[in-house]
């Protein structure tokens, strides 16, 4: 069993604190993805779990053991690095066996394990090559091979796919997912790519400036972002975030948005606390700002008009850039008779998916 517990972990470099009291429980066999913008402390956190970096305060447990003062090699972990860290002067086989040799495993067992890893990753043909003679994706697989031969309790990945092109990245994503199902270990995976996070994770941990913003399943963080940062970070294209004001009319809260748009706030948990005149930030994902046929499914008073700026066809759907007041928001349309650029078109807001945030605290309030 290898759950990982991170309790109130702080990291300081000199006087600069980069991780601020982080708490996280990773279950056995769970695939957890740490995601966040560059410099938010993801790699630092991962290196602390690996033991490559001391922790300033707090506690890290792997299994039942506090590992704060345990050396990396005794933590029973394996790590895959962004630039693969394959030794250029060794063959693929030697690279994969490197940790086993260091651990002085019997030759026969080394070979057997290397062969097994090569089989899982489809590297049998490449064992005698050197890293320079491999493609990016193959190098990536060798790096994973080096990790799996050690049969670790916990796999740590630090942006393993960021050096690959988009197509290879998505196929390697699938391979990593398959690998996880095959080898059944706990995985902590760092990325700044939210698509990678959404597709791979059992749970996502969203970080910003060394602080966890939200922990949840991909759907939870997508559907119920805890704050403005998460709302803007998860989802592509980004959620529309619009400055708005609450106005009560006949006792019901309504949302006044730029461009003279005025829509009701559907009654739900939290809608009662919306005082008249309160400034809020409204969040609606592009797929919930619709035009064309999809309008018919929405109540009459969830509609408005907006000027169409740019139309970006994506194939099965199109993105619409819509001007409301002096703001531009993104909408989506699926049908073929789209409004043309420059049209003053009817649009609809699917307010069942409306998010409201407090502009000061940035927390979700509705």
């Amino acid at each position: 069993m290898a759950q990982v517990s991170i309790r109130n972990v702080v990291k300081r470099y000199g006087s600069v604190q980069v991780v601020h009291g982080l708490d996280l429980e990773v279950q056995h066999n769970e695939f957890v993805v740490l995601v966040g913008p560059s410099g938010c402390g993801k790699s630092t956190m991962l290196r602390m779990i690996a033991g490559l970096e001391d922790i300033t305060s707090g506690e890290i447990r792997i299994g039942d053991r506090v590992v704060n003062n345990v050396e990396p090699k005794h933590r029973n972990i394996a790590m895959v690095f962004q630039n693969y860290a394959l030794y250029p002067h060794m063959t693929v086989a030697r690279n994969i066996a490197f940790g086993l040799r260091a651990a002085k495993l019997p030759k026969a067992e080394q070979e057997q394990r290397v062969r097994e890893a090569a089989r899982i990753l489809g590297l049998e043909e490449l064992l005698e090559r050197r890293p320079a003679e491999l493609s990016g994706g193959q190098r990536q697989r060798v790096a994973m091979g080096r990790a799996i031969v050690r049969d670790p309790q916990v796999f740590l990945f630090d942006e393993p796919l960021s050096n690959l092109d988009a197509k290879l990245r998505s196929s390697m994503r699938v391979e990593i997912k398959k690998l996880h199902q095959k080898v059944q270990t706990t995985v902590i995976y760092v990325t700044h790519d939210q698509v990678e996070a959404m597709t791979l994770a059992d749970r996502i941990v969203i970080m910003r400036d060394g602080v966890i913003q939200q922990i949840g399943t991909p759907l939870e963080v997508f559907r119920q972002p805890a704050n403005l940062f998460v709302a803007g970070f998860i989802g592509s294209p980004e959620m529309n975030l619009i400055e708005a004001t609450i106005r009560h009319k006949d006792g019901q809260p309504r949302l006044e948005m730029p461009g003279g748009i005025d829509v009701p706030v559907p009654p739900r948990n939290g809608s009662g606390a919306l005082a008249d005149g309160r400034r809020v930030t409204a969040g609606l994902r592009p797929e919930h700002v619709v035009a064309g046929e999809a309008l018919a499914a929405l109540p009459e008073d969830w509609r408005a008009r907006a000027t169409v700026g740019v139309v970006e066809p994506l194939g099965s759907e199109s993105l619409l850039m819509l001007d409301i007041g002096d703001r531009e928001i993104t909408g989506k349309a699926v049908d073929s008779n789209l409004p043309a650029p420059g049209d003053r078109a009817a649009i609809g807001f699917n307010l069942a998916h409306l998010h409201l945030f407090d502009p000061e605290s940035e927390q979700a309030i509705y």
């Binding site: 290196r47 090699k73 860290a85 030794y87 250029p88 002067h89 260091a102 320079a132």
Partner: protein, 293 residues
């Protein structure tokens, strides 16, 4: 119409071809070549003279002709038959190999530590090492001599070698080269269970072979040709290195140039071998470090 178009197209392409062939030789190039050529001759001439003198009889050495009138290998037979030269040659080899091995080992160890470990005083240590580069050797000879005399190192191999067993320059060079070794390599090795010394030796060192080779060449040549300190540190002919020994061919009465030049010609052989061996690693090393994700 079509034929016309093809015609002009063909003419156009010929013209391009012509332009390519006729790249005009710019005057700047001629000047540059001339200067380079003169520089090349200036550098090669002494060597050619050395070789040619070694093939001459004593009476001919002041005729500055490049091709000896009566070429002879007599000087070589003489120098090689004289046991002293072997002795000096071995002495030089011992000194140069030992200092080279020591410098390559310790300079890269210190350079690696200064580059990859964070500790209090790291910057001060580095600056202190750098500042030794600014002290000319001539100023150090007297302190070295006093030190060697106090410890009884005069007239020993150690006495010849000790000032060069580590160099500030090599430490600096290696530190800079270790910057190019990504930390992830070191982290990966640490997770794989290597100790810090193994990481340095098995992972970091193979990645900086070009720098090591360059350093080895410099240090070997420097020690092979060193003259002043070995001259001062030794007084028995048995401990002379080749340069010191050769200079002793010039006694007060008579300078035996042909013998000096013969010894010097023979002495270039190890430097050539060292260069040929390590130069390969420089080239291969560059190929290795050119590897990126």
């Amino acid at each position: 119409m079509t034929a016309d178009a093809i015609g002009t197209g063909a003419a156009g392409s010929t013209r391009v071809g012509l332009f390519r062939g006729d790249k005009p030789i710019r005057p700047g190039r001629i000047v540059a070549w001339t200067i380079l050529m003169m520089g090349g001759i200036a550098m090669v001439m002494p060597l050619v003279f050395m070789l040619s003198t070694s093939l001459k009889f004593p009476h001919e050495i002041y005729d500055l002709n490049l091709i000896p009138n009566e070429p002879t290998l007599e000087n070589y037979t003489y120098v090689l038959a004289d046991g002293r030269f072997y002795r000096w040659f071995i002495n030089s080899l011992i000194v140069a190999i030992a200092t080279t091995a020591s410098v390559v080992f310790f300079d890269s160890l210190v350079g690696y530590t200064l580059c990859k470990f964070r500790f209090k005083g790291r910057a001060i240590v580095f600056v202190a090492i750098l500042s030794t580069l600014m002290i000319p050797t001539e100023m150090l000879i007297i302190p070295w001599y006093n030190m060697a005399r106090t410890f009884g190192w005069l007239d020993t191999y150690w006495g010849i070698m000790f000032p060069g067993m580590m160099t500030g320059f090599g430490t600096f060079l290696m530190r800079q080269f270790f910057e190019s070794v990504p930390d992830d390599f070191i982290h990966a090795a640490r997770i794989d269970g290597l100790n810090e010394f193994q990481i340095w030796w098995q992972v970091a060192m193979p990645l900086v072979t070009p720098a090591l080779s360059a350093l080895a060449i410099f240090v070997f040549l420097g020690n092979w040709t060193a003259f002043i300190w070995p001259l001062i540190a030794t007084s028995t002919a048995d401990l002379y290195t080749v340069p010191v020994g050769l200079s002793s061919f010039a006694d007060e009465a008579d300078v035996a140039w042909e013998l000096i030049m013969t010894g010097a010609s023979l002495a270039t052989i190890p430097t050539l071998i060292v260069f040929l061996i390590f130069q390969r690693y420089i080239i291969r090393g560059v190929v290795l470090t050119g590897l990126k994700g």
